[in-house]
């Protein structure tokens, strides 16, 4: 079991309505799961809780057998080995593509880092883009760099927040195909969030409806 969520409850604000209540989820290693629902259904919040960006009110999250959130326990985002591709990609504008990708692996030696960046750029089909800056890339390219950056440290789980919402229809098909290939190739456990059921079908993901 790669991810196990037990009875998760969360509200952004004490006074506000609970956005997630007693939510349960089990994801096997290498599985691709899609959380599908309308906006406000709490699907992105599940990702944020899994990543450690929010602290649950109650419930438990276990990643690769390690409890990361639960009663009296909270492991910070930076120590969870969970990778997340943000909806707006969040590529650091002041860093080149190379430095963006290497950001999470600066504990490696310089030469190892370089090889890893090369490897990832090859994986996302953007070889030779090392020296570019985010604003010099198209939307689709930015997303692939964001994916490469997320995969660089070798996370246990990959989270994709609305990966296709910023793309036009034509590009969308192409990106879905590419993304699917990359995920299959490295066999990483993936949870993606979308408001469109078609995305889930296309990615051959196990669909979980959220209301």
């Amino acid at each position: 079991m790669q991810l196990k969520i037990n009875d998760l409850t969360f509200a952004y604000n004490k006074k506000e309505e609970k956005i997630i209540e007693n939510f349960n989820l089990e994801v096997q290693k290498g599985e691709v799961v899609a959380l599908v629902g309308v906006s406000g259904s709490g699907k992105s919040t599940v990702l944020r809780l899994t990543a450690g960006l929010e602290i649950p009110d109650s419930g438990q999250i276990i990643i690769a057998g390690q409890p990361v959130a639960g009663e009296h326990k909270f492991i910070a985002a930076e120590k969870r080995e969970v990778g997340m591709v943000f909806q707006d990609y969040a590529l650091f504008p002041h860093l080149s593509v190379e430095k963006n990708i290497a950001f999470g692996i600066d504990h490696l030696s310089k030469s190892k880092r370089k090889t890893r960046v090369k490897e990832l750029l090859k994986l996302v089909n953007l070889e030779g883009f090392e020296k570019r800056y985010p604003h010099q890339l198209s939307g689709g390219q930015q997303q692939r760099i964001a994916l490469a950056r997320t995969l660089a440290p070798g996370p246990e789980i990959l989270l994709l927040d609305e990966p296709f919402s910023n793309l036009d229809a034509e590009l969308k098909d192409k990106i879905r195909k590419e993304l699917n290939e990359i995920i299959k190739k490295i066999g990483i456990t993936t949870i993606l969030v979308s408001h469109d059921r078609e995305d889930a079908e296309f990615m051959k993901a196990r669909e979980i409806l959220m209301n």
């Binding site: 009110d57 985002a77 707006d88 002041h94 999470g104």
Partner: protein
């Protein structure tokens, strides 16, 4: 887990640092209130029975009249610049901010000098046209004169805030009003003014706080206000308890003002029902309207910047540059303390803003409130609070040092440490606002992305937040730098012996009617402030492109 959630993503180190800074910001204000319960000074009864009513009246008249006039002037000009196009508009959109580069006390002595019996205007009338008018027409040194000075040099606060607000408004609003057959003047009073009420009130309350803070103009004109009274009871009579009581009164006035501002501003908050906003398109003015708009806008620029600066240049020319070395020395001191203190204040503001960003809404609201507090309280009041605190601290330090047999080498009152501390209390809010709006622009996803990539809060701050905040930090630095360069009351009270900045020395020379020497120093001061204003306005323009 609930406590964890309250602190949200904050790390304890940041929180602790913030707590220390916030406590230091609160100390002077709390100190004043504590000291209020001490014994009253020997002069208090006299001040209370005979003078207080006068301080109240003068302060209120100045504050209210200036607040209203600046509101109309600033809002009107902002409207002209935001909604119309005419030759010179581009320049004026930042040129009309330039009056802020001239501290009101410098403006006051320039205008007084120009209109006095021996000034250029009357001399010209007398010698060339044989006109000798009654001196009462030229008397500047009264409430009306002070109101004029404050309005013409402080209105840019309203102008700036209203202009920024109007730039975000929708064009269809205006266009539909025009299509409904409304004249532009009707639109201004019925649509624009009510809509931008919040911005106008915010700007004009800044103006009012500056008026209450001012020491130079009222002192020079011989008008008694709270600020001059605090000075007088302290320096003139050596009666600190009386200054404390006056300071508390001034704080009360401020709190009433802040409350009124909230009342006027809050309540109704208008927002658009659609998110699709097309910015205002400017209407080109032709014919007589064009000339009127130019006449008005350039006229204000002339009286608020060009004329006083030209007069200063002329005086400086008459003194053949004066004593260059002395001028250079004061400029050097001012720039050094201005930039040094601005950097320190900015570091404090970054720490508070970073913690605020990681805390819950409630906590970050409180942090923001406390940080801004110092800017709304007059400098003379802060000075009283800080001096009270420093005297106590020194007692403690002396106790410690003699206890360890070290003599009494370290004393903090009347040192630069005390002055910089005071600047921090007063201007931290300005720096905080800059950093905070920088953070708002950046958003949270970069921070979160870095966290999921394995970086902690502090490493993320240095690698991601700090580089991305650079433009906001630059404008924060410049804003604080200008304020410190121009600052008078705090510096006058708290400076070390024989320590002078451009501002204090220019004011001293002007008070001693050594107007030519004052002119040189004022020009240097105005030059640096104007340059900073130019940099701020033009940096933001570049970024928009």
């Amino acid at each position: 887990m609930q406590l964890l959630k309250k602190l949200k993503k904050a790390s304890p180190g940041w929180f602790l640092l913030t707590a220390v800074i916030i406590t230091m910001l609160l100390i002077p204000n709390v100190n004043i209130i504590i000291n209020l319960f001490g014994e009253a000074g020997e002069n208090w009864k006299h001040v209370r029975d005979y003078l207080l009513i006068n301080y109240f009246q003068n302060s209120l008249v100045l504050v209210i009249a200036t607040g209203l006039l600046a509101a109309f002037l600033g809002a009107g000009l902002a409207w002209l610049i935001a909604a119309y196009d005419f030759p010179g508009r581009n320049f004026l959109s930042w040129g009309l901010i330039l009056p802020l580069a001239i501290p009101p006390y410098i403006g006051a002595y320039v205008y007084q000098g120009m209109f006095s019996y021996t000034g250029p205007l009357q001399t010209f009338l007398r010698n060339n046209l044989q006109i000798n008018l009654n001196q009462k027409y030229f008397d500047f040194m009264n409430l009306k004169g002070a109101i004029f000075i404050y309005t013409i040099f402080l209105f840019p606060y309203v102008f700036l805030m209203t202009k920024a607000f109007l730039a975000k408004q929708s064009a269809s609003l205006l266009e539909s009003s025009r299509l409904l057959g409304k004249r532009d003047s009707t639109i201004f009073f019925k649509i624009i003014l009510p809509l931008s009420r919040g911005a106008v009130v915010a700007g004009s309350s800044l103006v009012m706080m500056e008026v209450l803070n001012d020491y130079g103009v009222v002192k020079y004109f011989g008008i008694s206000t709270f600020t001059t009274a605090i000075f007088k009871s302290w320096f003139g009579m050596g009666d600190l308890p009386t200054s404390v009581r006056l300071a508390v009164m001034a704080m009360l006035v401020i709190f009433v003002l802040l409350f009124l501002e909230k009342l006027l501003r809050g309540g109704r908050k208008y927002s658009y029902s659609t998110s699709n906003i097309r910015p205002l398109s400017r209407r080109k003015l032709e014919g007589s309207k064009k000339i009127m708009a130019q006449f008005f806008t350039y006229g204000i620029f002339f009286f608020g910047f060009l004329l006083p600066t030209a007069q200063l240049l002329y005086w400086s020319f008459l003194s053949r540059g004066g004593e260059l070395i002395e001028t250079f020395n004061f400029a050097f001191t001012s720039i050094l303390i201005g930039s040094g203190a601005a950097v320190l204040i900015l570091v404090g503001a970054i720490i508070i803003a970073t913690t605020a960003r990681m805390s819950s809404n409630f906590t970050s609201n409180i942090l923001a409130r406390i940080t801004i507090l110092g800017y709304s309280i007059p400098g003379a009041v802060i000075a009283v609070g800080i001096l009270l605190f420093m005297l106590k601290l020194d007692e403690f330090l002396i106790f410690l040092q003699t206890g360890f047999g070290l003599g009494t080498n370290i004393i903090l009152s009347s040192t630069l440490v005390m002055l910089i501390f005071a600047y921090a209390v007063r201007f931290m809010g300005i720096a905080f606002n800059s950093v905070n709006s920088g953070y708002e622009k950046i958003g949270e996803s970069y921070f979160e992305a870095s966290r999921t990539l394995g970086k902690g809060v502090t490493e993320t701050f240095f690698k991601i937040d700090l580089p991305m905040l650079k433009p906001a930090l630059m404008s924060g630095f410049l804003l604080v730098f200008i304020e410190i360069m121009k600052e008078l009351p705090l510096t006058m009270i708290l400076r070390p012996f024989n320590f002078d900045t451009l501002a204090t020395k220019a004011f001293e020379y002007a008070s001693d009617e050594m107007i030519y020497r004052a002119a040189d120093l004022s020009l240097v001061l105005i030059f640096f402030s104007a340059a900073a204003i130019y940099l701020i306005t033009h940096r933001s323009k570049r970024r928009k492109k």
